[in-house]
Amino acid sequence: MSTATTTAVTTPVMPARPWLTTAIIFAALLTVPVWLPMLGGYTALAGRVLVLGLAAMSFNLLLGFTGVMSFGHAAYFGLGAYGAGLTLKYIAPSTPLAMVGGVLLGGILGSLFGRLIAQRRGVYFAMVTVAFGQIAFYVTYSWDSLTGGYDGLRGFSRAPLNLGFTTIDITNNSTYFYYFLLFVFAVATGLQALLLASPFGRTLVAIRENERRARFLGIPIERHIWMSFSISCCFTALAGALYALLNNFADPMGLHYSLSGEIVIMTVMGGMRAFWGPLIGAALFVVLQDYISSMTVNWMSFVGLIFVLVVLFFPRGLLGMLQKGTEK
């Protein structure tokens, strides 16, 4: 059954040798604290890559695997960050609880909104999601007393992990925190891979490939798109919560639509039809942005240029091109 489905769709869900790619990626990620300082990088940069990579991969559940174009995912990322920050600040100094708080805030709001827009497609879906993203931005920005407004939410910090038998100090030790991020990242992406391999995930790909035919087969399209949107929002909010933990800070610009655009470009740059594509794209984008903004004040032009060049000349993305090469 699963082989039949894989040959039926034009591009496979997983690359030709999924385990090899996955092994290489995790080997590279696990050894980051060893090799990154040698290249002149710092561990927080790797943390950013993991967090934004998770956001982009979560976003890609929609774009790459359901074929629906959201342009407002920064909202759920930012809501996740604020959810985590507010939980730490006002409810309890617990890192896992903060993650739950972030996922609930972003996931519930995303799910409610997804209900409203599930029957829209294409650019109209994009436009409505952008506008909703700006509501979240606007509310966070103006609700000064709760969110800190323009200055962002401060005054919280991640708490050490208490596992019962031992306590892991992720507060001060950045290497421990990196491995904590990696652990959450691995669990989240593992869940995503399971989801995509499940009948539900296959149905989403079927909707992407031919919505009308899927509808004729009796698949409730709107409900599937809604569920896919909600799941994608939950994972994106998780990434946002991790981002707040990484910086001990939640920034209103984290909800702005320019970040939504960056999440999309990371996804496309890495390859939206490849499972790990968005992670590769996030790594490329974060490193390029870090480098460019340290070199010139006109970094916006260069970031814009990346967008234009990727769209015009590398639309398949890095992994997309590699994948195409191995298939031949």
Binding site: M69, V123, A126, V264, M300, S301, G304, F307, P315
Partner: protein
């Protein structure tokens, strides 16, 4: 109180007029080419800056006419060089392209004309107030509103009575058939993009006289323009017109009673419309899906 309400209604109409000019251009491009032009606010800024450069040579009135035309030409060139390449692809590419373009154009304006705001001058005859009682209404505001009305009427006449306009409307409904009937669809889309840019450029010149110039002056107008389109109904230019005026006036009226919510109210209107009438006030059934 009455004066306060009147003051804010005038303000709202003027802001609404800007939303309308922006949103009509966006809507034209969206309807025919299925592209959301994220750089539309930057075309507005460009129009304002070009007028600023031209004013010493052509005077205010000359710049007012020439600057939107140059903006239109620029839009035409951008469409020919870049945007047309992504029509046949997934909509994500056109979004990313105009998004990147917006970054580049904003940074270019900042690089050329500096990050801080520039003041522009308007003729003395326009800056005088209407009367002592109506001190808040300057002739410039009347002039702006009149010009926007003229531009919008001109656009609707263009779409109704000229050959290109009729083809644009036909293409909005069924581009394939228009193409089969022998119309050069590529050129039609370029012209349509140019008309959209023209409106943005005109809005830019007018806005410069009201609030001055800065590189991101169009950004604040972009999101309300999206909302004007969603509220009015995708596919209907009349809807976009009404949507723009509605949210402009609603935002300004809210300022009277609850200043903090003046911006939030337009989002509330959008949500209410999405819940109660998903296709928008004047949108056709199925246009949004």
């Amino acid at each position: 109180m009455l004066q306060l309400v009147l003051y804010n209604v005038t303000n709202g109409l003027i802001i609404g007029a800007f939303y309308v000019l922006m949103a009509l251009g966006l809507s034209l491009i969206l309807n025919l080419s299925n592209v959301i032009n994220f750089a539309h606010g930057n075309f507005l800024a460009l129009g304002g800056y070009i007028a600023f450069v031209l004013t010493p040579f052509l005077g205010y009135w000359g710049a007012l006419i020439v600057s939107p035309l140059i903006t239109a030409l620029f839009g035409f060139a951008i469409e020919r060089l870049m945007i047309r390449r992504v029509y046949s692809r997934d909509p994500v590419y056109s979004l990313l392209l105009t998004f990147g373009l917006a970054f580049i154009m904003q940074d270019a304006c900042r690089y050329i004309w500096g990050p801080s705001g520039l003041q522009t001058s308007i003729p003395d005859i326009l800056s005088a107030p209407l009367s002592a009682d109506l001190f808040f209404i300057t002739w410039y505001r009347i002039f702006m509103v009149a010009l926007v009305i003229a531009a919008v009427s001109g656009l609707f006449a263009f779409l109704r009575f000229t050959r290109v306009g009729i083809r644009i409307r036909a293409g909005t409904l069924d581009l394939d058939t228009v193409s089969i009937l022998g119309v050069n669809v590529g050129m039609l889309r370029s012209l349509n993009f140019a008309v959209g840019s023209l409106l943005a450029g005109l809005a830019g010149v007018l806005a410069a006289g009201q609030v001055g110039l800065n590189p991101n002056m169009g950004d604040d107008l972009l999101m309300p323009s999206f909302i004007a389109i969603i509220v009015g109904g995708v596919g209907s230019l009349t809807g976009t017109l009404c949507g723009g005026l509605l949210i402009g006036v609603a935002g300004a009226l809210t300022t009277v009673f609850w200043p903090a919510a003046s911006e939030a109210v337009i989002y509330v209107i959008m949500l209410v419309v999405l819940i109660l009438r998903p296709r928008g006030l004047m949108g056709q059934e199925g246009m949004m899906s």
